[in-house]
Structures are given as structure tokens and as C-alpha cells.
Subunit: 246 residues, 2 copies
């Protein structure tokens, strides 16, 4: 028993990943379109996830799922909650799908929620590196998802919001070189607030971990913006920073 337990997938614990992306069009989430045996309606989406293996840590499991999906290793990854409602698998088509892929489809599964942040340059929405079934969906357009995945998504976004207030994780959603406008848009979107441009820029320019490059935007039909990067070293030094923009 103990030997067999240590091999392969654990039937009772999974990870599910809310993968966020951000670009001009706003906040996006990476969803999996699943093959549903007899799917009468339109598409059927869920969050990427899998049962954990008995020899891997939770973070490793989430990493594995994301690596398979995006071909990117070590994405920014943050565990945010566990979901264990005994009825979280209750819809008939969810059950059917489980029966089609799981060894023990009726097992009670507790899932650990992670959110991942991807930089725009790393998410080629239809690049070959991405799993064919993965699809970016604007946050506002996310449909009803399988299982309790809408709940997990909401909870993940709430956690990200919270985290962005006190740690510089937002930069994981921006290109390595970004404009202050992009940073402002990101905070406005995730936090759901409007920010005064001049006040924002003044505040932000006092932060030593934002370093101006000697490089500007190119090919835009307006005054090209200064590019900045996030310096993690300067951040660690300075410390005390708050990320209460707005």
C-alpha cells in the first residue's frame, strides 16, 4: 500500500492554475478547451490543472502543468487558496469528462489554486510552443467554466490584487521594457480604479527600482514614450515601498 501510494498521481489532490496575461486589450486568462464526449452546447472551458504526483511538491505540480501548457519553465507562480467543497465536481458533463480521463474518477479531490503571471512577449497566443487547446480569453469574456473554476478564478484575481498592493509582482505582467502608461494601465485594470496621470508619474518616479532606459518607444504615431525596467536589486535595497498607487 505505502509503495503503491508513492508512485504516480495522487487521486485526492490537484492543482489548478489561473494564468494571467496583460496587454493593450486588458487582462486575459489562459483557458483550456476540453474535449467533452457529448458536448451539446458550444465550447467547454476549464482552468489548466492536474492531479499532483506523489513525489512532487505542490509548486512543482503547478510548474509541471504550466510547463506542459506553455513550454515556459518557472513562470511567476503563487499559491493562493485550497478548494475542497465535496460537491465541487457535480455537473454531469464534468463527471463524464473525469470518467474519460481519470483512473479513479469518483475520488474526492481537493485542489490547490495557483495564479501565474506571463509577460506579453512570452505569450504568443497561438505560438507552436503553446498547447493547441490553450486559449487566451479576456477576463471580462470568461464564460461559465467547468467544476468550481469560476470561483477559483475570482479568488485568484482577488489574491493578485491584494498581492500587487504590497509587492512588485505586477512587473511580471509587463514586458521587460515598459512605459509608465503601461504600468498605470495595469494598476488601473487590476485594482479597478482610475489614477491621475500626473500624480501617478510623480509618485512612481520616486521609486528607485524603476529605472529609465536610454531607449524610447518606436513606430508609434505619437510622441514616443520613455521605456523603463524594474530593477529587483534596487527594490531589495530600498525596501519600504508601498504599491498603493491610485
Amino acid at each position: 500500500m505505502s509503495e503503491s501510494q508513492n508512485l504516480g498521481l495522487n487521486p485526492n489532490v490537484s492543482v489548478d492554475c489561473v494564468v494571467f496575461g496583460f496587454d493593450k486589450a486588458g487582462l486575459k486568462v489562459l483557458l483550456i478547451e476540453r474535449d467533452n464526449p457529448d458536448n451539446t452546447e458550444g465550447k467547454n472551458y476549464q482552468l489548466p490543472g492536474d492531479l499532483i504526483r506523489n513525489d512532487e511538491d505542490l509548486d512543482e505540480a503547478a510548474n509541471r502543468v504550466l510547463k506542459e501548457l506553455t513550454n515556459i519553465d518557472n513562470l511567476f507562480l503563487q499559491q493562493f487558496a485550497a478548494f475542497g467543497n465535496p460537491l465541487r465536481v457535480k455537473r454531469e458533463n464534468d463527471l463524464e469528462w473525469l470518467r474519460s480521463i481519470r483512473k479513479d474518477p469518483d475520488a474526492r479531490v481537493v485542489t490547490i489554486g495557483y495564479y501565474a503571471l506571463i509577460k506579453p512577449e512570452d505569450f504568443a497566443p497561438s505560438a507552436s510552443s503553446f498547447a493547441r487547446k490553450a486559449e487566451w480569453v479576456r477576463y471580462e469574456d470568461v464564460p461559465e467554466l467547468a467544476f468550481d473554476h469560476n470561483l477559483i478564478l475570482e479568488s485568484g484575481l482577488a489574491s493578485l490584487k491584494q498581492k500587487m498592493r504590497s509587492e512588485p509582482v505586477g512587473f511580471e505582467l509587463l514586458p521587460a521594457k515598459f512605459t509608465l502608461r503601461q504600468l498605470q494601465n495595469l494598476y488601473e485594470t487590476v485594482m479597478g480604479v482610475e489614477i491621475d496621470k500626473r500624480n501617478f508619474r510623480r509618485k512612481v518616479q520616486g521609486m528607485k527600482f524603476l529605472v529609465a532606459l536610454d531607449e524610447k518607444q518606436k513606430g508609434v504615431a505619437h510622441k514616443p514614450a520613455q521605456l523603463y525596467r524594474f530593477s529587483n536589486n534596487n527594490y531589495k535595497d530600498s525596501f519600504s515601498a508601498t504599491f498603493d498607487f491610485a
Copy 2:
């Protein structure tokens, strides 16, 4: 298989509870002294916890553990993280203990961490309602615990700290009627900061959800302090409150 899975304890998922209490002496944690078969050293402590049942939600499991321990139902309870290191059970005496109580002592166990907050009037440190083996230990005096329980404890306190900054959960650690000094002490302790008394009181008195009772401290050898209570109604109304005292 699916039937047997639905009965009794799930071998792979547990909950562990960090139970906080607060009084004049500071922050305290409720620990379980465990019977260790051959415990050569002194006492051996762990956090209260148990495997979950297959028919209960995670919160229910945590509630059950706490009810058994304290005889109090519906303590303030907050899930804060999942711990799944495959080696979280690694010490020989931890393994021995598992073998003495678990049906499947070698199963991989992922545990969900909860913190609970108890009001001083509810924790009679040695009241009959409390499990004999439960013991309040000052946070600073917490010894090395079983499994990864020190990690869980630190992580729980960090989450509480975070939570107390944005939600009025601290009141769960205070008596129903409390003085402003007690509130200040609580925030100073948990946040690890010193707060100026006059500034603190000014700020706090502007908060409508703190209502002064027409009652004062009794039997103290100094000017008796005004008693206050927390009004959840006023809180819900006002909203916008920050709990960034300090």
C-alpha cells in the same frame, strides 16, 4: 472503490490549525502535547489538526478539529495556505507517532493551514471544556514543533498580519468590551510596530464602528479606561476603512 472512498477519513488531505489568543501577556498559540511512544527529550508539541473526512468541506474539517479541542463552535477561522512538501513528514519520531494513530501512516499528506482567533473570555487555559492536552504557549516561547508545524505557524501569523491590515479581524482576539489600550497593544504586537498613543486614539476615534459603551473598567489601580465594542453593522455601512494603524 468509489463507495469506500466516500466514507471516513481521506488519507491524503489534512487540516492544521494555528489558534491565536491574545491577552496582557501577549500573543499565544494553542498547542497539542502529544503522546510520543518513546519520547526521550522533554515535551513534544504540534498544532491541532486531523485528516479531513471525505464528506466534509475543508472549513468544516477545521471547525470539527477546533470544536473537539475547545468545545467552541464557529470560531473565527481563516484558511491561509496549503503545505505539500513530500518530505514534510520526515523526522523519525513524527513517523512513529503517525504509525501509532494512522490507518495509512505512510500516505502522502497535503495539509491545509487555518488560523483561528479566540477571545480571551473564551479561552480558559485549563478549563474543563478544553482538551486536556491543549496548552497555551506564548508565541515567543513556541518550541520546535512536529512535522512542518513551525513553518505553518509562521505562515499563519504572516497571513493574520496581512489580514489585520485590511479587515477588522483583530477584534476577534479582544474581549467583547475592550479598551483602546488593548486594541493598541494588539496592533503593536501583531504588526510588530510601536504606535504613538495620542495619534492612535485620534485615528481610531474617527472610526464609526468603534462604539464607546457607557461603562468603564473596574478594579484597576489607576484611572479606569473607557470600554468600547466593535460594531459590525457600522463597519458594513461605513466601509472604506483601512486598518493601517501605526
